[in-house]
């Protein structure tokens, strides 16, 4: 799955560690999501979308 997490995070000026803390997960999880190596669980995907005040579809898109 592709995602815009790094881009959204950059627009807010958040570090990976700060975002991880806000979302209640680990920094490594954020790194892995941004690199597309880890697909987050649905609750975490909702948390991410909610944090950036957008929808899951705006953050994550399935691989073509």
């Amino acid at each position: 799955m592709e995602n815009r997490l790094a881009e959204l995070r950059a627009t807010r000026g958040l570090s990976q560690a700060a975002l991880a803390e806000v979302l209640g997960t680990s920094r490594q999880t954020i790194i892995s999501i941004e690199r597309g190596r880890f697909d987050p669980s649905l609750p975490l995907a909702f948390k991410i979308a909610h944090h950036f005040e957008t929808t899951i579809e705006q953050v994550f898109t399935p691989d073509p």
């Binding site: 979302l23 209640g24 997960t25 680990s26 490594q28 999880t29 790194i31 892995s32 999501i33 690199r35 190596r37 880890f38 987050p40 669980s41 609750p43 975490l44």
Partner: protein, 150 residues
């Protein structure tokens, strides 16, 4: 004279103690039962010593197990749920699955090779073989997953 501890920390400690008291109390008869069982199966030891030592050794373990599995079950469940959101949990699960299949396959392979080549240290397979294969493959798999994602 040492400085007086803050009242808040004493209250926190008392609260924590109150939380574990049911588990401590409930585990005591179980620990005594373990002691009695040990004394029954080992009649060459003095009964009172066997019961006391076995009960004392198993009491903390049973208390912790009861606390985690029974009295704090909801907290444990929520901790498991929150852990599912982490990539580390995904690594752990993948490494555990790899270790399981490696251990099963590895034990069959070792047993077959040991029997065919008549190697006593390979066949029959025992706990040591299972532990080495299981822990080794788990550790290698977890570390390689971690390295791949960094």
């Amino acid at each position: 004279m040492p400085p007086a501890r803050p009242r808040a920390s004493r209250v926190a400690r008392l609260t924590a103690l109150r939380k574990v008291l049911p588990a401590i109390a409930a585990s005591f008869p179980l620990a005594l039962a373990m002691g009695a069982l040990y004394a029954w199966r080992n009649p060459h030891h003095p009964t009172s010593v066997a019961v006391t030592v076995m009960a004392a050794c198993t009491w903390p373990i049973i208390a912790i197990a009861l606390q985690i599995l029974w009295f704090e079950r909801s907290e444990t469940n929520s901790a498991i749920e929150s852990g599912r959101a982490d990539v580390e949990t995904a690594w752990f699960q993948e490494a555990a699955a790899t270790a399981f299949y490696t251990t099963m396959g590895g034990l069959l392979f070792l047993e077959s090779m040991g029997s065919a080549l008549k190697l006593g240290w390979l066949s029959p397979v025992g706990l040591t073989h299972a532990l080495v294969l299981g822990i080794g493959s788990f550790a290698l798999s977890y570390l390689s997953l971690r390295r791949r994602d960094r």
